[in-house]
Symmetry: C2
Subunit: 153 residues, 2 copies
């Protein structure tokens, strides 16, 4: 997380996150860097659909239509999170960490990362391998990488 | 976290959390238990004072008066979090994980845990040893223990 912290600090950007699948792991990783409070303002762990609508003001219809693990939902989580948390950059994640896939749902290891940076929005699809905890850790690494990629553009 | 999960499930209670010092580590630990979504609804990582006022609706005056690391702030975080997240039990934490203490502030390792369970509120003082990351891990363990204590009363 150190590289990401340095990049954000250098650019004077504040960071927030909205996590579903990773349940707070991205935030916890980022604040393990000393001085992180200069950059990181806060995060939401919107684990249930209710919290996605309640905390973020997302439309339940959108979640039902596209499915909770979808690029549309990841994109909206980042966009709404950016506003609710009042940050320059908001990263979001929704995915299926297993152990089982819901009928008709996304396979285990499929996740979507959203990034809202000022007025730009990005969504990335991830296909991660491993057990529930490995998938989560890999998702957090991918979130870092994607933000770094965007910041270095 | 397995014991806590089983207790909450047995009693049919929903869980949420509001974390400052631990930055999402409690939430991430809880959702590592398979099936946690039956109990855990969501969490807030209110790392900055701004997020404590913005997400929780806390009074900035109260934070300034008692200090951000205080039993009053921990109590309010749990109480407001319980409402915002719409959960039966909300646990909160605010503390100083180090590496340094602010002038006139609380010593490194001092933290306060708040628990709101239905119409009851509890606050506990912790004095934790170790480096920044050890203090955080020990804080999460203490949060679990305190909730279990209350649930077994």
């Amino acid at each position: 997380m150190k590289e990401l912290f340095n990049l954000l600090k250098e650019k004077g950007l504040t960071l927030g996150c909205v996590e579903s699948m990773t349940g707070g792991l991205f935030a916890a990783g980022f604040v393990s860097v000393p001085g992180s409070s200069k950059v990181f303002k806060g995060g939401l762990v919107t684990y249930s659909v209710e919290e996605k609508t309640k905390l973020l003001g997302m439309e339940e219809n959108l979640i039902n239509y596209f499915g909770v693990v979808s690029k549309e939902v990841a994109g909206e989580m980042a966009l709404k999170g950016q506003k609710v948390l009042n940050v320059d950059l908001c990263v979001s994640i929704t995915g299926n960490a297993g152990p089982t896939a819901e009928p008709g749902g996304q396979p285990v290891g499929r996740a979507y990362v959203g990034v809202s940076l000022k007025d730009k929005n990005y969504v990335f699809e991830l296909n991660l391998k491993g057990n529930r905890n490995k998938i989560r850790q890999r998702a957090v690494l991918a979130m870092q990488e994607k933000i770094i990629e965007i910041l270095k553009k």
